[in-house]
């Protein structure tokens, strides 16, 4: 009622328990911040309509509960094609809320049927506790140890999914970065922009932190060297092409494609990098603005800790988008639908081309008809084209985070894939030449 509302506004935070560097359990933090905690736990909710039954549920081999998310391999079977020879061709699903991250990782066939390493835990478990536990207090040592341990061993040190301590500094509640991979990654980005010696926990603005905390995980990554150090490929910049350049420079490939024998790169969830190319980012609109928008709880305004799609209900669209867009929820939904549809169409153009190249290359390898140069060139086109399409499909907003950019990279992928097919037919291919590289004169006008 109005009385309590008036009262609430005077005392938003109550310190019930003391929070220290070793208060790993979010339930304890929740005593001080019950509203945030409630939202945080609600990331376990999902829409049953977007799920398939896990039949039978909770066997010894699969503890993922009664439901699994939809299979992306079934929705887009060409993904199987580009990933032949890699764990992803076996199982790949829609993500769900944060509360599921550890369970979903533990029981995916990509994990259970392959030899994975502890580095996987970086983004699927509460990290401070693991680092402390494995390093005996020396977090850097703990991290190094975790990365290269076999997954099954490393996961013993994990007590649960992401927790308050992963994003907040105990005591002050300031946002903070807890992932060494991001500390290094963003340092490289800033260096490439001419900013030396960037220390994210010292130099980032609050606004930046509202994106950076997410960018610890929602980014493209690889495991570097024998140390399996989790690394973000950002020294050249944050675009898809910058990532390709990075991997080419360091000579990294994730796997050899089973039928084309090309060394290719796997792209994972470049949500942050893609967002950074869009108009929201250039206007300082962050992940938290849309995915953790402010909401009224009594008289207090808090950040909605039920991190999820802002489009999930009229109320959440209102709470996030309408803060800035003086429009209606229906109109915002319409805009997002248009963007998704346009991206989907563009993806189909590119993916059809990529599939055609893979089929051609597979045939060429089998028949042995192509020259080694042709195979090498066409293979390089496959590497680039499929990385870009993978990048765009693995990005979770289906084009929304940067609509024009997302389609522009797909345009390149189309060009690369078709070029690969041409190379196999002995054609010399040029790509993306500027007008200044041509020498074509206007035609002389006919006499009057």
């Amino acid at each position: 009622t109005i009385f309590t509302h008036r009262q609430e506004s005077t005392q938003p935070f109550t310190q019930v328990v003391e929070i220290t560097d070793t208060t790993y359990d979010p339930a304890v933090w929740g005593q001080n911040f019950p509203l945030q905690y409630e939202g945080f736990r609600a990331t376990s909710e999902f829409d049953v309509a977007e799920m398939v039954p896990n039949d039978p549920p909770n066997t010894a081999d699969d503890q993922r509960g009664e439901y699994l998310t939809l299979s992306k391999l079934a929705i887009e079977p060409r993904l199987v094609s580009i990933w032949k020879g890699y764990a992803f061709s076996v199982e790949y699903r829609e993500p769900r809320g944060h509360e599921w991250m550890l369970i979903d990782q533990q029981w995916t066939h990509r994990q259970t049927n392959f030899n994975q390493v502890g580095a996987c835990l970086n983004c699927h478990a509460s990290l401070p506790e693991i680092m402390d536990s494995l390093g005996n207090g020396d977090q850097a040592a703990g991290w190094a140890a975790m990365n290269k341990l076999p997954y099954g061993e490393a996961v013993q040190h994990a007590s649960g999914p992401i927790a308050c301590i992963d994003c907040h500094e105990p005591g002050t509640m300031k946002l903070r970065i807890t992932r060494p991979a991001f500390v290094e990654g963003i340092k490289a980005v800033k260096a490439s922009e001419g900013i030396a010696d960037y220390d994210v926990n010292r130099d980032a603005t609050n606004q930046e932190m509202r994106a950076y905390v997410c960018a610890q995980c929602h980014v493209e990554y690889y495991f570097k060297g024998d140390e399996k150090t989790l690394t973000f490929p950002w020294t050249e910049g944050l675009t898809a092409n910058d990532a390709i350049a990075f991997y080419d420079n360091v000579g990294f490939s994730d796997f050899k494609h089973a039928t084309t024998e090309v060394s290719v790169i796997k792209a994972q969830h470049p949500d942050f990098e893609t967002w950074s190319q869009g108009i929201h980012a250039s206007n300082g609109v962050t992940c938290a603005d849309c995915h953790m928008s402010y909401m009224r709880e009594g008289a207090a305004k808090i950040s909605d800790h039920q991190v999820a799609s802002p489009m999930r209900s009229e109320a959440t669209i209102n709470q996030s988008c309408l803060t800035c867009h003086h429009s209606s929820a229906a109109e915002m939904q319409q805009r997002v639908d248009t963007i998704h549809q346009r991206w989907e169409d563009a993806k189909n153009v590119s993916f059809t081309a990529v599939q055609a190249l893979i089929d051609d290359l597979t045939a060429a390898v089998q028949s042995g008809t192509a020259t080694p140069e042709q195979l090498a060139q066409a293979g390089d086109f496959q590497r680039k084209a499929q990385f870009i399409v993978d990048y765009s499909v693995s990005e979770n907003s289906r084009g929304f985070h940067a609509p024009a950019y997302s389609i522009s990279i797909l345009n390149q992928a189309t060009d690369y894939a078709r070029s690969g097919q041409l190379v196999l037919r002995g054609v010399d291919v040029d790509n993306a030449r500027g007008p200044e590289t041509y020498d074509i004169q206007p035609v002389e006008p006919p006499a009057r």
Partner: protein, 165 residues
């Protein structure tokens, strides 16, 4: 379940627009008495006055109040200069009563969205208020709309005028 109840209640309260709404709201209001209580608590009598502080009795209006204070119109127009009809006294108070009741009811039940949205009839009142003050200045640009029997919308462009979001 709670969401379902909220949604149904939402549908119900959406019915309270226009003249029909005024009557309906008044009737049901008397039966329930809830909104009336809040109106009283929030300063029933001052609701009908002209002091913007009245509106700010509810923290629901804080955002607009604070923004209004910083906005271009703080010195020249109060809430009611834009949100109450200027043309006739009966309409003015009927409108206020309806709005006052609606807001009180929703405030009490906390049944309003994070970002409040102006309802169509209130938007029209506001747009008319712009023309009330700026009539001569915008005479020319309204020409085509007038001939088509339309009302030129000012807030299509000047959406931040009263209180920038």
């Amino acid at each position: 379940m709670l969401q379902w109840i909220k949604d149904r209640w939402h549908d119900f309260t959406r019915a309270f627009t226009g003249w029909m709404g005024v009557t309906l709201a008044a009737l049901i209001g008397i039966i329930l008495g809830v909104g009336i209580f809040t109106m009283y608590y929030a300063g029933f009598t001052s609701y009908f006055g002209n002091d913007p502080a009245t509106c700010n009795q509810c923290h629901a209006m804080n955002e607009q109040y604070n923004a209004w204070q910083k906005g271009s119109h703080a010195d020249v127009a109060g809430c009611n200069d834009c949100h109450a009809p200027h043309d006739n006294l009966v309409l003015k108070y009927a409108n206020k009563a309806e709005n006052g009741f609606m807001h009180s009811l929703k405030f009490t039940l906390q049944n309003y969205p994070e970002n409040i949205q102006i309802r169509e009839h209130n938007r029209r009142v506001t747009e008319a208020a712009c023309v009330y003050c700026h009539g001569n200045f915008v005479d020319q640009i309204k020409n085509d709309s007038n001939h088509r029997g339309e009302t030129l919308s000012c807030i299509r462009c000047h959406d931040g005028v009263g209180h920038m979001r």
